[in-house]
């Protein structure tokens, strides 16, 4: 592996993905060379995944959430770019999916990817218990034993969720046990005192309050809340009453990825 000065980030766009511009910006402010690439350009081969170090699947409403959120996008990626993605992962590179990107990742089997199988779906993200789309800020607590590259050094973080289908469900108790045992769980919803609590602190009814998971390598990561929506202190809902650093807390997640890529890829 060669060391490069700037990490190259592919921010996917097209078909109703809609957080691509701010996701690109979050990567840019931590020094990455981030490019928005239309899915059709990847499929046609005009752009090559192999030319990038980090792949970001941003939030949005790909295909209008028709059939199920992220599902149609998942199929499109899986059947057209499956091989490229596997090579990307095998090359030690990083993938982050946020909200709709996370939904697509679990539905194509990229997460949790037990036994290195990145093509079988074991968990899902489905309709919130409230039956509603909701935009609200939530407190997240990280799993200290997680190997997740993206969340290194983050203990707690406050971010917005904006989804109607974010309830995390595992296929069966064995899957859930394995997620816990092997530290796939990265973030869990908590209340403002850092304790597990019900709605609205757990905004969607996720099993075990799960908000984010990664694969065993910690390099493939998905989360429902939006770190790219907290790039500046003025994004925080209480910024006019609290002393906050100028940079939004969400930026750390992108910085971790870009620094890892810079050092290791």
């Amino acid at each position: 592996m060669s060391k490069t000065m700037t990490s190259k980030v592919l921010v996917l766009t097209g078909y109703g993905i809609n957080c691509d511009i701010e996701t690109q910006h979050a990567f840019k402010i931590v020094g990455a060379d981030a490019e928005r690439v239309h899915l059709t350009d990847l499929i046609s081969g005009d752009k090559k995944l192999a030319d990038f170090h980090i792949l970001a699947l941003p939030g949005g409403f790909s295909f209008g959430d028709d059939i199920a959120s992220g599902k149609v996008l998942a199929n499109m990626i899986k059947y057209n770019l499956g091989e490229d993605i596997r090579e990307f992962i095998n090359a030690g590179k990083l993938i982050i999916g946020i909200c709709n990107g996370f939904q697509a990742m679990v539905k194509m089997g990229l997460l949790p990817a037990f036994d290195g199988d990145y093509a079988t779906q074991d968990v899902t993200l489905t309709f919130n218990d409230s039956g509603r789309f909701e935009d609200r800020w939530v407190h997240l607590k990280s799993n200290k034993s997680s190997k997740c590259i993206f969340t290194k050094g983050i203990e707690n973080i406050y971010l917005p969720v904006r989804h109607g289908e974010g309830k995390f469900v595992a296929k069966n108790p064995q899957v859930l046990a394995r997620l816990k045992k092997n530290n796939h769980i990265v973030f869990q919803y908590v209340n403002n005192e850092g304790k597990f609590a019900g709605y609205p602190h757990n905004p969607n009814g996720s099993v075990e309050n799960i908000a984010a998971i990664c694969d065993v390598t910690g390099r493939v990561f998905g989360m429902m809340p939006h770190p790219e929506a907290f790039q500046h202190r003025t994004n925080h809902p209480a910024w006019t009453r609290e002393e906050l650093p100028e940079e939004g807390a969400g930026v750390a997640i992108f910085r971790n990825a870009v620094e890892y890529a810079r050092e290791r890829l």
Partner: protein, 976 residues
């Protein structure tokens, strides 16, 4: 043969949709059911093998973690089954996505895939109840159909068979000729029958045009004689109230107690003139394009438009509202060379969702309207990735007749693109006419002329359509890419009037056009040429593309999965020329089409009305405040706000809610590497119009402006958008008080001129919707005259913005502005069942001075919180500021600056304009008071750590409540 795949939840999995439906059956329809479960059904217009269906179920339709699927009926264990699907021709977004995704899985083409949903209801209910649930909640008979099956009649082998919603019929498209040489009464009949909405004078003008020798000769030369239906439809839509704003441009004879005056065009006399006279250097393009354009900074311009979608929302609230929002999105996109969309703002006017009287025929229950509109805007905004940053909901019983759905959208564009100013459209004869996006169907035919009529039993179903945000989002992404590559010369949206309007308007830039209708992509065959031309099918834009760029343009469209078709050529022939195959079907002079419309002449007569003045005794102020906080017009709209994504694009600075309380205006940062912000606000107060629409409009303008000032917006960089929704102001047999309604319109416009001028806040774009009446049988419901004044402005540095929540104990509380005895049409009087007469009046000169000072104080950081005083007056504003900051407050009523008031309730609840509640940290008091010197303001109390809201009148406590109690009163009403 058809095939079906049914998808249901595994046993034990929560069915959130079913649970939600059950809740609404019980709460809204008052029918007791035990449970509701749902099954999604995908029906294929093909006979697929079991293997193929399995493949589709496994790989696409069912989530293996939580769902099961079958090609056989899944339903079991229910009392009643209701399956709801679309009628033929209605937009089926899930069906369309399913088709594409199924084709990818099967690797073969499919004819059609259609979506329907089953509701399995358990409970001891009758067939009548089931009918009520289907027609009253689950489906809208205008666009959907359903079957109801009782468990006793259930055959699990046969299952459900809804007919496929395929548009059938073998109509051969044709053009008919219309003979206009008939009697006047026959002409009037023709206008009514064909839904032309043309009056006699207008049809006679058309009649005269066709009798001109020159016209006759030219038409004969290309094989045309009598007017074609294509031509008449084009004229009707171009001349519709919706497109030509005939009432706003009419000649009005206005009479009031001061005498009689003639007004030539309200639009020119009041709105345009004010903007021209204000003449701000940052105005870029006003009243000429699809949206107004102002400067944001040296490199970027802001674009904004507000539209209404009232009648469609009355018929199908979901479809009407989603079409409203994705429709107005295309206005900034179709302005200049096209803008990137950065926010939506929505204002709704409904009757009370708790309405419990009998519903007049054809009207939907206000709660159903509320829910449908809310959901339509949710899907339209959220799925498009545009934050819904601000809005409000106004309640009044009269909106039962027609709900008002105002949808606004803002955009941003580089001021120069490819070396040219981006706000200017330029096209040349020879440029190709290109249509992009969706296909054309019968949906939305006559939308433009239809919205120019009142709602009655003949209101056509084709006017109802459902927006498809994803088709539009794909198109939008593609067009911005094409814009930056310089692939087109001009762009406009296909909205009201369809191609007829979009091409017709663009053709004015070249001086003519030739449209070849047979090239237009259709959703299904069988459309007559006139239908293709005036259809308002959604998600379409029309562009002018140079012949040398066309290949590149079409290639990029194809790559991005966006349909784009060349449908003609812009010319300099002076003609609006339309062909269908080899046949000429329309040949109209551009001049006549756009300038031939005769000016309407109308009378207006103003007579002030006198309302009963309440005589008030001793009032329990604590109870009165709680009542006001709970009122529909004041209470928390969190239920709606949370379901709108207000933070996508990551520029959110001031959100709709601050610490659970109501923010005044919104602030966003559209360019993530800049600290400059956009401020968006709205003002609307239809109640005041009961007394005088002049003051109503003045107050709406003041409300929007002071909301903008509240958050720290610049008073010198602020533009307005006027949006009038009126009841029919043209006197006729069925509308005897038309002259009064027109006088109300004149007065509203006069206020618009006076106050935008006084504030230096020019209007840059506007809209009017003039026929918001319901007439069926002898029942007539007219909406109250309503003006929405929306603003878009700038804040130089968003870090200076201020929110409305009190910040720290011991901060001083100030009231800015004078409180007068102005309870006329207030929420307080309304809560007591009165209107009264002393409507709030805006003193623009003192307000202006105050706003300048307040802006300075905010920018110097002297202010901790700032909240607007509006509905419910000081009492409500103070309470909201306190509970939003989670702190208490002690107020001394005697210190509030007042004019001629003796009663405490008047001080607390008067709705005098141009007032603020401000808190200031003790160490900033001196500087704050220095800046405010010369204005009316007073220190009236302090923020307290004790969470108690207390009002003193001298030594006496006259109001006292815990802030939690007040917050609860404010939140409980719409906590659904």
């Amino acid at each position: 043969m058809t095939s079906r795949i049914e998808v249901g939840f595994k046993k034990g999995m929560k069915d959130a949709l079913g649970d939600g439906v059950k809740k609404r059956i019980v709460e809204d329809l008052h029918i007791n059911v035990d449970s509701v479960r749902t099954i999604e059904v995908y029906t294929f217009d093909a006979s697929l093998s079991e293997k193929e269906l399995n493949l589709l179920g496994e790989q696409l339709f069912a989530d293996p973690v939580i769902q099961v699927f079958s090609s056989k009926p899944l339903a079991e264990d229910f009392s009643w089954l209701i399956e709801v699907g679309f009628k033929p021709g209605v937009t089926d977004n899930v069906g369309a996505t399913s088709k594409k995704a199924s084709e990818d899985v099967l690797k073969s083409e499919l004819r059609g895939v259609y979506f329907s949903r089953q509701y399995l209801i358990n409970g001891n209910i009758t067939k009548e109840d089931a009918d009520k649930i289907a027609g009253g909640l689950l489906a809208n008979s205008l666009i959907e159909r359903w079957v109801i099956i009782n468990i006793d009649g259930w055959d699990s082998k046969k299952g459900v068979h809804l007919p496929l919603p395929v548009v059938k019929g073998k109509h051969t498209p044709s053009v008919s000729e219309l003979n206009l040489d008939v009697s006047d009464s026959r002409l009037k009949e023709m206008s009514v029958q064909r839904l032309l909405a043309l009056n006699l004078a207008e049809i006679k003008t058309i009649q005269k045009y066709y009798s001109l020798t020159g016209v006759k000769k030219e038409r004969e030369a290309i094989g045309l004689s009598l007017p074609t239906d294509v031509e008449i439809e084009v004229l009707a839509q171009t001349w519709s109230e919706h497109c030509k704003h005939k009432i706003f441009n009419s000649q009005i004879t206005y009479t009031d107690d001061k005498g009689t005056k003639t007004i030539n065009s309200l639009f020119n006399t009041f709105i345009k003139r004010a903007t021209r006279e204000i003449n701000k250097p940052w105005l870029v393009s006003v009243f000429t394009d699809n949206a107004g354009v102002i400067k944001f900074n040296d490199d970027y311009n802001l674009v904004m438009k507000v539209e209404t979608h009232n009648t469609p929302s009355a018929l199908d609230p979901y479809g009407g509202a989603i079409t409203g929002i994705v429709g107005v999105n295309r206005d900034p996109l179709g302005t200049g060379m096209g803008a990137r969309l950065i926010f939506n703002t929505d204002v709704f006017c409904f009757a009370s969702p708790f309405y419990d009287k009998e519903l007049p025929p054809r009207l939907l229950h206000p709660k159903r309207i509320f829910e449908g509109v809310r959901r339509g805007v949710e899907h339209g905004g959220n799925k498009s990735g545009i934050p819904t940053v601000n809005g409000c909901i106004v309640f009044d019983e009269r909106y039962l007749g027609k709900p008002l759905v105002y949808c606004g959208t803002g955009g941003i564009m580089p001021s120069v693109i490819n070396g040219k100013p981006s706000h200017i459209k330029e096209l040349n004869p020879g440029d190709l006419i290109v249509m992009t996006g969706g296909r054309i169907g019968k949906d939305g035919i006559h939308g433009a002329t239809f919205s120019s009529l009142e709602l009655d039993e003949n209101s056509p179903v084709t006017a109802v359509q459902i927006g498809d945000p994803i088709t539009q989002k794909k198109m939008l992404d593609f067009l911005l890419e094409a814009r930056d590559l310089g692939l087109y010369n001009a762009i406009t949206d296909d909205g009201a009037g369809g191609l007829s309007s979009s091409v017709g308007e663009m053709a004015q830039l070249s001086g003519g056009c030739l449209i070849e209708l047979e090239k237009c992509p259709l959703k299904y065959p069988g459309l007559d040429p006139w239908e293709i031309l005036v259809s308002e099918s959604q998600e379409r834009m029309t562009l002018a593309v140079s012949p040398e760029k066309i290949d590149e343009f079409l290639a990029l469209a194809k790559t991005r999965d966006v349909e784009a078709t060349v449908i003609g050529t812009f010319t300099d022939s002076g003609k609006f020329h339309v062909k269908y195959g080899e046949k000429n079907v329309a040949y109209l002079d551009m001049d006549f089409l756009h300038s031939g419309l005769p000016v309407m002449k109308l009378n207006a007569r103003w007579e002030p009305r006198k309302f009963e003045e309440p005589v008030l005794g001793i009032v329990d102020l604590t109870a009165a405040l709680k009542t006001l906080l709970s009122r529909l017009n004041i209470c928390s709209k969190e239920y709606v706000i949370r379901q709108y994504d207000h933070e996508v694009q990551a520029g959110s600075v001031i959100k709709p809610l601050t610490g659970d309380g109501p923010s005044d205006a919104t602030v966003i940062r559209p360019l993530l590497d800049s600290m400059e912000g956009v401020v968006v606000a709205n003002g609307i107060c239809p109640r005041y119009g009961d007394i005088d629409t002049y003051h109503m409009t003045a107050c709406a303008i003041d409300e929007a402006v002071r909301n903008h000032i509240c958050v720290g917006g610049s008073f010198d960089h602020l533009a307005g958008l006027d949006n009038f929704c009126w009841c029919d102001p043209v006197k006729s047999e069925k509308n005897p008080d038309g002259e009064l309604k027109l006088a109300q319109l004149v007065r509203a416009n006069k206020a618009l001129y006076d106050y935008t001028k006084a504030y230096g806040v020019p209007c840059i774009s506007g809209k009017d919707s003039m026929k918001n009446d319901y007439i069926i049988g002898r029942r007539k419901i007219s909406i109250p005259p309503t003006v929405l004044f929306s603003t878009i402005g700038k804040i130089g540095d968003v870090r200076k913005a201020v929110t409305m929540d009190v910040k720290k104990p011991d901060d001083r509380v100030y009231v800015l502005g004078t409180t007068k005895d102005e309870l006329g049409a207030s929420e307080y009087f309304a809560s007591l069942g009165f209107i009264g007469n002393d409507v709030p009046r805006v003193d623009a000169a003192s307000a202006r001075q105050l706003y300048i000072a307040l802006e300075k104080a905010i920018h110097e950081g002297a202010i901790a919180s700032c909240h607007d005083c509006s509905d419910g007056g000081l009492g409500v504003a103070l309470a909201e500021s306190a509970f939003s900051g989670d702190l208490g407050m002690t107020i001394e009523l005697t210190k509030v600056p007042v004019e001629n008031i003796r009663r405490a309730d008047t001080i607390l609840f008067s709705e005098s304009q141009s007032r603020f509640v401000v808190t200031v940290a003790p160490d900033k008091v001196r500087r704050f008071e220095e800046i405010m010197r010369g204005n009316v303001f007073a220190d009236v109390g302090a923020v307290t750590s004790r969470q108690e809201f207390t009002v003193m009148d001298g030594e006496k406590v006259v109001l006292s409540a815990g802030i939690d109690e007040l917050k609860e009163a404010w939140q409980k009403t719409l906590r659904w």
